[in-house]
């Protein structure tokens, strides 16, 4: 299979036209012998780009691998993922990031863009070899100690100044460590009742406030991971108003779920930063709609069953999210009228690609552009189930929840990774 003609799909701008693909790029006419894909009633979107994915390989292959994680990505409509650095060994050298990128390239389900660690071993003490990672074959542009905050103000300043020289961006996990020692859930009335140690919003907001000022002084780009509070939105709005080069992401779960779920003590709802209050959910939705928050990123965080089958305080933080992301964004943003599909294409593809300096996503569906796309049936509704999950872990908070939308097809560089809602086999997709 190399040539395709997709008929009947609606493009993000609302128009309908045939889409022709040959040799991995968009062409202006049906190539000879093209496979026809009927897409009446389907919404075409550019291939989704996740700026925040945990693929767990190397080191934690019982949770996820590059193969299974990119299969989950494809199933969710993604064609590129940024693989966070908290592997073992940590992605803090050129060797490790090249290995991860090449595994992704070999499997073919999605472009894997490794994120480099800011500090050696994510230990927050001294800078990792950022230059080597930037100049490696993995061409790393996003640097993050995600899971840990670069809490030392001087180290953060140096990181911003240094990364800027490689056209990179520091993606900060904003969590003041002393204010969140032992923290288990959003701090508030509910945490006080449940007796779970609180994770106060100010621990996120204070770091964002500090970092935007440091970024301004350094003249560097800053990206804020998983913004979760109304207060953070206010700080970001102020920073953007000043012209500071800050971008921010929100996760699907922070757009849809609230802390009330913690009352069950079911550790599937344990995530970092924690699920917040309804007013925070309302604020991050509004911020995504008005551009204060730039993108949606999944923070796909696979964990084995045993690390969630435990008392809350003893369970791991994190949720898988690649397969459910688009449905959750549709539920929280599209079906509520806050975003149109062109906006979804922006927040889930064009802008995350731009932040990660990932090329090929600047002119989606334009002649000559790589054919990264996904076809979605927005009218579908389904009770989300483990059969919808294609990674190695099942720690989804949406199991049994009815969600709108369904990914019908995904193409990565003209290669189908999902067709008729079915993940294509490894040998067909592998390069």
């Amino acid at each position: 299979m190399s040539g395709f003609t997709i008929t009947g799909a609606t493009l993000p701008d609302g128009t309908r036209r045939e889409i022709h693909i040959d040799g991995g790029v968009y062409v202006d006419a049906a190539p000879p012998g093209a496979t026809r894909i009927g897409a009446d009633g389907l919404q075409a979107l550019p291939g989704l780009v996740d700026l925040h994915t945990h693929l767990r390989e190397p080191g934690f292959e019982q949770s996820e691998t590059v193969l299974t994680g990119t299969q989950a990505a494809a199933a969710g409509g993604f064609t590129a993922v940024h693989a966070m650095a908290n592997t073992f060994p940590v992605q803090d050298t050129a060797g490790v990031v090249e290995q991860v990128a090449s595994l992704g390239a070999q499997h073919g389900y999605a472009t894997v863009r490794p994120v480099g660690a800011v500090t050696v071993g994510l230990a927050g003490e001294r800078l990792a070899e950022i230059g080597a990672m930037a100049r490696s074959r993995a061409a790393v542009r996003v640097f993050s100690d995600d899971g840990k905050c670069v809490a030392d103000a001087l180290l953060m300043r140096r990181a911003l100044e240094y990364v800027a020289g490689f056209d990179g961006v520091v993606a900060q996990h904003a969590q003041e460590p002393r204010l969140t020692e032992g923290a288990q859930m959003n701090e508030g009335e509910l945490s006080s009742e449940l007796g779970l140690a609180g994770w106060p919003g100010v621990a996120e907001e204070a770091i964002i406030a500090r970092d935007v000022l440091l970024a301004e002084q350094a003249g560097a780009r800053l990206h804020v991971c998983h913004v979760s509070t109304a207060g953070s939105v206010e700080v970001l709005r102020w920073a953007k108003g000043r012209g500071i080069a800050v971008t921010a992401e929100v996760t699907p779960h922070h757009l849809l779920l609230t802390e009330q779920l913690a009352a069950s003590y079911d550790a599937r709802y344990k995530v970092n930063p924690p699920l917040r209050a309804q007013e925070d959910v309302d604020a991050v939705r509004a911020a995504l709609a008005d551009g204060t928050i730039d993108i949606v990123a999944t923070d796909h965080a696979p964990h084995p069953v045993e690390s969630k089958e435990a008392a809350w305080a003893e369970a791991s933080f994190g949720m898988v999210g690649l397969e459910s992301a688009l449905s959750v964004v549709q539920a929280a943003m599209v079906d509520t009228g806050l975003l149109g599909w062109a906006d979804v294409a922006r927040v889930l593809s064009a802008v995350p690609a731009a932040i990660g300096r990932l090329t090929g996503y600047e002119a989606p569906f334009a002649l000559g552009s790589p054919a990264h796309l996904t076809l979605v049936d927005p009218a579908a509704r389904r009770a989300f189930a483990t059969s919808d999950l294609h990674g190695r872990s099942v720690n989804s908070p949406y199991l049994g929840v009815e969600l709108p939308g369904r990914v019908v097809a995904t193409m990565h560089g003209g290669v189908p990774t999902v067709l008729d809602g079915i993940l294509r086999p490894e040998e067909e997709v592998a390069r």
Binding site: Q184, E187, G188, E189, L190, S191, S192, E193, L194, G195, L196, A197, G198, P200, S264, Y265, D266, A267, E306, E309, A310, A311, W312, A313, E314
Partner: protein
């Protein structure tokens, strides 16, 4: 009642029912043979992931007075210290054939997880979960207040209007949480007194009033009348080095029930403490050993309350309702 996990699901009538049943259980203790055959052939497992000799002994003694067999598991020196988790420990104990699990655990919500996860069929009684709840402690406290106030005329009564000051480390206290809701359910008025660092952020949603001035509370804040009950909470030693307050001396000066403060209390004010006490820190010996102290009544009544609870989750055979 299927489980007892929290006081939050107890209605006023449920709670009075448990207190009244505990009155019957207390009467058993005065017999020549202080035992009932009610739970003969049933097995109660005490699963103590966290040390608590007094609570464990109290449950053990309650189960034995009801003729149940008791097996006891404590984390120290057990498989838990070798890394075994809640699920495996619970399933292992359950496989030995137990009808009820009395669990103390260091993690909030552990009892709820054990009851909901479907790992075991046994009834679950929460004997303290992290900083969340300690339902039988609140029940025995309520029982003690009612008994001290109404004596033999206690049955059927609630704690109508009783003024209760709870003083100390509310933030980390499961006793304070369970008492705040149960006492409110029973019609008492609860005032929490603690330094701002030891009052949880979010306490505004609790059915209580709060303050930081113990002297003001003893003088009648916020009720305009002195408290009927002053309950002192234990200060854990690990709090003393984490900037919750400057040092023990200042804590004792500001929030300790010292001799002078104790001397100001009317003769019928009850002094309570869940134990174990730090004498000279949160409570003076003058207060702890006085006639106004009901600390030892709390211990005695604890056995009656736990007999009532075990009887309700096991003896009635009723698996029809879950008292959350």
């Amino acid at each position: 009642m299927r489980h007892l996990l929290s006081v939050r699901g107890l209605s006023r009538d449920d709670a009075i029912g448990i207190l009244d049943l505990a009155e019957d259980m207390a009467a058993v203790a005065t017999r020549a043979v202080p035992k009932l055959p009610a739970l003969r052939g049933r097995t109660v497992a005490n699963l103590f992931f966290e040390d608590s000799t007094r609570t464990r002994l109290s449950f053990e003694s309650a189960a034995k007075r009801l003729s149940a067999d008791v097996i006891t598991f404590t984390a120290k020196g057990s498989s838990v210290s070798k890394g075994e988790g809640l699920k495996d420990t619970a399933q292992t104990i359950a496989a030995m054939g137990v009808d009820a699990v009395v669990m103390r655990h260091h993690a909030s919500g552990a009892a709820r997880v054990l009851a909901d996860a479907g790992w075991i069929d046994a009834a679950v009684v929460n004997a303290g979960d992290g900083t969340h709840e300690h339902p039988t402690q609140a029940l025995l406290d309520a029982y003690t207040m009612r008994k001290t106030r109404h004596g033999d005329a206690s049955r059927g009564r609630d704690l109508d209007g009783l003024r209760v000051a709870i003083v100390g480390d509310v933030l980390h206290s499961r006793v304070a949480r369970s008492n705040a809701w149960l006492l409110r359910t029973l019609g008492a008025r609860v005032h929490l007194v603690a330094p701002g660092t030891l009052l949880p952020h979010g306490v505004g949603g609790w059915p209580v009033t709060t303050g930081s001035d113990l002297d003001a509370a003893l003088d009648g804040e916020p009720w305009g009348a002195v408290p009927d009950v002053v309950m002192m909470l234990r200060i854990q030693s690990e709090r003393m080095h984490d900037s919750f307050f400057p040092n023990e001396r200042e804590y004792a000066r500001e929030w300790g029930l010292d001799e002078v403060r104790f001397g100001r209390l009317p003769a019928d004010t009850m002094v309570m403490h869940p134990g174990p006490m730090n004498r000279g820190l949160e409570i003076s010996s003058a207060a702890a050993d006085s006639a106004r102290s009901v600390v030892l009544d709390q211990v005695t009544n604890g056995v009656s309350i736990r007999m009532a609870v075990l009887y309700l989750v096991l003896g009635s055979g009723g698996h029809d309702g879950d008292i959350a």
